[in-house]
């Protein structure tokens, strides 16, 4: 494609104003009560249900679906919250197609699983619409103080469970707003109507959690002080750094980190004021790559390409997410790795990619290259833990915090969970489970 305009074509307001609202509306609107009844009736109430086994937080899925079916959506929501206090967000963002719905016996039998995610949302949305606060009472105060660092899914789940047990929690977050990736990272169309913030309020409504925003480990907070002042510490700090391509001109205009752009997008009051390139190339193959690609397309980019160095089957983005990208007009180019950025006058104008191949299990370049013109090149090749923030006190593995089955770190009074720990799945629901397990372990340790 040849561009006549000189310089990078990056502009806001590419679409009529009303198109933004439509493009960024709810990906899966809430089921109507009758739809929920009919869908719930499809559940076979399996014995030792495979879906429940597949859920990282072990939600009793047949039970909550049955409760929808019996006309008890409030009880249904409690069944969900018992295991996952962020059940509302997980209903929106879980890759159910690779978790509960993948193993649903109806998926196996007929390729049409019960819409577990949608039903979970039906129950949790019902509860949150009908109730001012979350459903749990705090136990009698234990007098113990716990620092939870990071108010993302892991930290929120941990703080909530600790508060339930009667501990006093201080919840620190680096940003001005709690929620972590739920607030700043999830694609817009998966969490409309300010849901992430409403859910934070819901979780905190249990009481006993003191939220301190604008406090960042490594800046105005350090681990040694926390350990000295609190009975226990939980780290749910996520991954603050972003992997770089390692190419020249990465500092040029138009060369961007996907996570930063998504965070801005999520906080934007007027999407029409957000500049977006006419031609966009995204490097990566995970959920973030799909999220940035689809959202730039929805912001009005003409031509969006995801370039991934291996085959489509190796992409971390689920098949569903890949289809979502493709049905939104995003091209997925596989077997292509970045070779060089093309820049002029301080801005990138394109990217040179090298074709790759799988040679006996190892990825090699073929020497053949292709250059894509681009006004914006997004990096979505993973995030990293900024270990200097931890003061070197914790054992790491492959750049992440090592934890045991209880999510305890190498330090006796420090637990960790979510994306910052080794061996995790980088999923909201997995982070919630980490927070929950750690909270139970902390409670047990402090009660001993």
């Amino acid at each position: 494609m040849t561009q006549t305009k000189a310089g990078p074509d990056i502009a806001a307001g590419r679409l009529p104003q009303e198109a933004y609202a439509e493009n960024f509306s709810d990906l899966h609107p809430l089921l109507e009560p009758h739809e929920a009844q009919v869908e719930a009736d499809r559940c076979y109430f399996c014995y030792d249900a495979p879906c429940m086994q597949a859920c990282p937080t072990s939600i009793d899925i047949p039970q909550f679906i049955r409760q929808i079916s019996t006309g008890n959506p409030t009880g249904s929501a409690k069944t969900i919250f018992d295991q996952n206090i962020l059940g509302g967000m997980c209903a929106r963002v879980c890759p159910t197609e690779t978790l509960c719905e993948q193993v649903c016996v109806r998926e196996v039998a007929e390729g049409k699983p019960v819409q577990i995610g949608q039903l979970q949302r039906y129950a949790t949305d019902h509860y949150m619409a009908e109730n001012e606060t979350q459903p749990y009472q705090r136990a009698a105060s234990t007098g113990k103080k716990i620092a939870v660092v990071g108010a993302g899914p892991a930290g929120l789940a941990c703080a909530h469970r600790l508060a339930m047990h009667g501990h006093d929690v201080t919840l620190f977050d680096a940003r001005e707003k709690a929620g972590g990736l739920n607030e700043f990272g999830i694609a817009s169309y998966k969490s409309v109507d300010n849901f992430a913030a409403r859910e934070v309020e819901f979780v905190l409504s249990i009481g006993g959690i003191d939220l301190k925003t604008g406090t960042r480990l490594g800046d105005n907070l350090n681990l040694a002080d926390l350990r000295a002042s609190y009975d226990a510490v939980f780290l749910g700090i996520g991954l603050g750094g972003v992997n770089a391509l390692g190419l020249n001109d990465e500092d040029k205009g138009g060369s961007l980190d996907a996570v930063d752009y998504i965070a801005n997008l999520r906080q934007a009051h007027d999407l029409g004021k957000l500049p977006v390139g006419r031609r966009v190339v995204v490097i990566g193959g995970g959920m973030t790559a799909v999220d940035i690609a689809v959202q730039t397309k929805l912001l009005g980019a003409d031509d969006v390409t995801i370039a991934y160095r291996r085959g489509q089957d190796r992409m971390n983005a689920s098949e569903y997410e890949q289809h979502l990208a493709q049905t939104n007009g995003v091209k997925i180019m596989t077997w292509a790795q970045p070779k060089a950025l093309v820049a002029a006058n301080g801005s990138v104008t394109g990217i040179e990619l090298e074709r790759t191949q799988d040679q006996d299990g190892s990825l090699t370049g073929t020497g053949e290259t292709v250059t894509l013109e681009a006004d914006m090149v997004f990096k979505a090749i993973g995030q990293t833990l900024v270990d200097t923030d931890l003061g070197g006190a914790l054992t790491l593995e492959k750049g992440r915090i090592v934890v045991d089955a209880d999510r305890k770190t190498s330090l006796d009074d420090v637990w960790a969970g979510g994306d910052c720990v080794a061996g995790g799945e980088d999923l909201t629901v997995a982070a919630v489970e980490d927070g929950k397990i750690a909270a139970e372990a902390i409670n047990a340790a402090l009660s001993a």
Binding site: D41, Y44, C46, Y47, P50, V108
Partner: protein, 437 residues
């Protein structure tokens, strides 16, 4: 193509599908629409005498629904026709004149005084309708006035009124029976004794479909209160089938023509009623749910099925299953079956396991060699069929007969070829030496 022409003790109709006496047959307008749609006959909504009855003006129906609002059972508190007798009679006469090939039977309900019956029969005869059906079944409203099921629950009254009808009229007479009775054979015998040409059953079942838990009143609710109504629709079919079979099997009433009623929704339902002895079927709820068009597939489906089975006329179907409708004591105790799960069809929901484990015989595994697998344990299986019924996959679990000569691993006894039933079983204190099939 099979001939569906039905000769129900002389009342001829082009097919065995009649509309039951109910709101769909209350007016010429509806009945003409029904005939245009293809219904073989109608039983006109029950006529009474004196001033027309008055219906409630609030809800008259309540229902049981499936999750997708499938109407599974319907209950009503509507009474007999509330239109003037003369209007009904005029319309009946007109319809019969315009549709001579269709069966037109008139349902009647008047007080148990001979003169009342004489008068109404005379009026109906003038319409040239094909016959009358005596409504001894209506369980609400009319029964409180000594009519409907109040008559149907007393065999002596049935016989008395039936006798009057046969005495004072040349018209064929069908007696419609109430299921709200302990032994359906008694009223049928009474009807026969009174000279009835046929019986029809079942009328609706006493019911409260639901309770409004906010208003704390049964539904349907009329100004804060509810009354029991009559239950019908798919949910009542099993009850109706049994009662039809009881009458068909009873030596005293065997051969008495039966018009089968109760949840007939499809051609298959109709075929089942016919197999158990019904010479015609009457339909109401299916029509009230979907409209008159449902008769098209009833006709077509029955005809196709008959062709497939080689039946050329409805007589060949009627009563065909009656010889096999037996009593428990005559079932073969030497017949031994075991459930078998087709592992290729099994979707591993585990419902068979938990049903058997919690509520029955602990005869289905949930784990085999450490893997999720559902297999029947023949040593425990009594062949009860519960797993078959709870399995969501049709034909995934089947009951397989054990061949005579093999050993039942549950009892360690050889499966005997010889038929043997409870009447000869050693545990039966009243056992006789030799079983009769």
């Amino acid at each position: 193509m099979a001939d569906l022409t039905t000769y129900f003790f002389g009342i001829k109709s082009p097919n065995p599908f009649w509309l039951a006496s109910a709101p769909p047959t209350d007016k010429e307008y509806n009945v003409v629409r029904a005939f245009k749609a293809g219904w073989g006959g109608v039983v006109w909504k029950t006529l009474g005498d004196g001033d027309p009855v008055v219906n409630v003006n609030g809800p008259r129906y309540g229902a049981i629904h499936g999750k997708d609002r499938q109407l599974l059972g319907l209950n009503n508190i509507e009474l007999i026709t509330d239109r003037p007798l003369e209007v009904n009679l005029r319309e009946i006469k007109q319809v019969k004149r315009d549709w001579p090939d269709r069966a037109l039977v008139v349902s009647l309900m008047v007080p148990c005084e001979e003169q009342n019956w004489i008068d109404i029969l005379k009026a109906v005869e003038d319409t040239e309708a094909d016959g009358v059906e005596l409504n001894f079944g209506c369980p609400h409203g009319m029964s409180e006035r000594g009519m409907g099921s109040a008559v149907g629950q007393v065999p002596e009254y049935i016989e008395m009124v039936t006798r009057w009808v046969k005495k004072h009229s040349r018209m064929p007479c069908i007696v419609k029976l109430t299921p709200n009775i302990t032994d359906i054979r008694k009223p049928a015998q009474a009807a026969k004794a009174g000279g009835a040409d046929a019986v029809s059953l079942i009328n609706t079942i006493n019911s409260i479909v639901s309770v409004d838990l906010d208003a704390m009143s049964p539904a349907p609710m009329v100004d804060g209160k509810g009354a029991h109504g009559g239950y019908c629709g798919p949910a009542v079919k099993p009850i109706a089938l049994n009662m039809v079979a009881e009458i068909a099997r009873d030596p005293e009433t065997h051969g008495l023509p039966i018009s089968g009623i109760g949840g007939v929704t499809t051609w298959r339902d109709a075929a089942e009623f016919m197999a158990l002895g019904a010479g015609s079927v009457q339909v109401c709820t299916a029509a009230m749910t979907y409209g008159f068009k449902v008769v098209e597939d009833m006709i077509e489906g029955l005809s196709d099925w008959m062709d497939e089975k080689g039946y050329t006329s409805v007589d060949q179907v009627v009563g065909r299953a009656v010889p096999n409708a037996s009593d428990w004591q005559h079932l073969n105790l030497n017949y031994i079956a075991k459930a078998k799960i087709d592992q290729d069809l099994c979707i591993q929901c585990g419902r068979c396991h938990i049903a058997c484990e919690d509520t029955s015989h602990q005869a289905i595994t949930n784990m085999v060699d450490g893997a999720r697998k559902f297999e029947v344990i023949d040593e425990e299986c009594v062949g009860c069929n519960l797993c078959v019924n709870v399995c969501p996959v049709e034909n995934c679990i089947t009951m397989e007969q054990m061949a005579p000569g093999t050993v039942d691993p549950r009892t360690n006894k050889v499966v005997e070829e010889k038929y043997a039933n409870w009447t000869t079983h050693p545990n039966n204190p009243m056992a006789v030496p030799e079983a009769a099939e």
